[in-house]
Amino acid sequence: MADTKTVAPKEGAGTRLWNWLTETQVWKSIFRHDRPDTDRTRVLVMLSNVFLHLHPVRLRKSGVKLRYTWCMGGLSFFLFLSLTLTGLLLMFYYRPTLEYAYNDIVGLREHVPLGIMREMHRWGAHAMVITVWLHMFRVFMTGSYKPPREFNWSVGVIMLVLTLLLSFTGYLLPWDQLAIWAITVGSNMARATPFLGHEGPGASLLRLGDVPLIHAYDDARFALLGGSFVGEGALLRFYVLHCVGLPLGIAFLMAVHFWRVRKDGGISGPL
């Protein structure tokens, strides 16, 4: 058992303030347990707090070590939360139409004093791609995908794909040269989808007499872009996916992921 640590400073004005604060009616109405400085209250704080209850009450020592987890799963989650917050703020300013999109971004950079929301969102997104990769790397190197955690690894892979798609759809939104050409290069691949892309192998076999079933106006790329090139349709589609569809999907999977970390016996360790 871990030795008991005292959370609040031992004496002085700080302690007195802390002790007084935690005895007030307001505090006690919010936190239904005493200060977490005994074994009993440390259990209670975990069980009675909706945010903390994702955690177990106790966990193996290696689980809290940077050496073991590299904190990369936690950082991915934190970056996701901060992206949600900054993204929400950006949505106040940004309108996904050909007319406004670019100008709204210009406005964000020129007219918002000290504005760094766009930067926080963009760099946070790049960082999240990196932390998710490193998280996967760590999980592999510690063999943590082995039974009973196989399924959670699979959930993780899908979240990795969703992370990349989130980043990819977001890349289009500033509607500058960087954006549309990166998405053009990326989405051009879809026209080579076997059978479903109009330049994909096998697509020319799908025809009714002389009429080809798969052409530039109904193939996989068209479905992705809502058009035959990166235009208005693509902007709206990417916006909706970026702000609603994909975040909901990944949040749902995160709930499953965290639940499974707990149910599979907590952070992995040797038997």
Partner: protein, 358 residues
Amino acid sequence: MGFLKGIINALADPRLFFILAVASLVVLVWKRERIAANSVGYGLLGVLTVFFVFGSFDPNFRLIVTKPDNVPIVGLIFLLVFFTWYSVREGVLNDRRIAAGKGPIEKEEADRVWVWPDLVYTEMISLIVCSVILIVWSILLKAPLEQPANRSLTPNPSKAPWYFLGLQEMLVYFDPWLAGVVLPSLIIVGLICIPYIDKNPKGNGYFTFAERKAEVTIFLFGFVILWVSLIVLGTFLRGPNWNFFGPFEFWDIHKLEALTNVNLAEYIWVRGLRTGQPTFWLTREIFGILLVLFYVFALPVILGKTWFKGYYQKLGAPRYYVGAFLFIMMMALPIKMLLRWIFNLKYIVAIPEFFFNI
């Protein structure tokens, strides 16, 4: 100075770059006992730092490395080098303990600690550190914004977002249906399959190398070499027309690279049999098709009876075949690279009639 830059430019050539990357993986695995020393890890980071500082005095290098969207990849290089070294080191340290009969260090850390305060505080500190880094980064570096979108003005080079540049680099060797659709899908499927194929019960929940030699080496090859190092190549070393440019080289749009790639069919019919290529596609491509069918369907069976016999017996037929198929698909990339570099081979099977080129 110029001489040194010339050497580095030459070493960065895609062929050498790739071969050097593979060579460093081989050295890492082979000499891991030595590499596990702390001095090696710090040394690696030091060398990288010196390289970037030295490079930043060069205008061409500075231009490409400080492009706002490329900055995270510089970070990725440092992080990846560090964590690759680190995880191998942890594995080696544990292997030594296991060999001495002590069990991995994680075993000693198996007793439980309180989440409050131990974990909650660690989380809070990481959260604060991460926020500070993110905010400072955001203040120092503005998010890029170029000219408004213009469909009639194609930039050269046109690059996908950086995390897909490994795939874009594959386009040099494979057509879009493979590089952009089939192989990425197989990467996803392959990753999901890993836990169901790998039946080795050892090395679950602790760093180790000795107990999972093949698994770790294959993963490092796929992730560090094929995925990340090709991203680095695609980001920093590919310029206009997707031509290769050394890190200290000026991105000249007019740089010409001789394209003399030849299809397998031409090698066989024109240069080998000297009959000229048959007009009917099936006859023309029959050798390539047989070769591909052999590679995909016969090779796993043959390997299962020879080299990989041990795996076949350990894993059983379904696991072995899925695993061998995925492995063979992964190896298709380096094999095609080598064929291109050595024989200037363009396509093994080329049926443009059906957009079917391999």
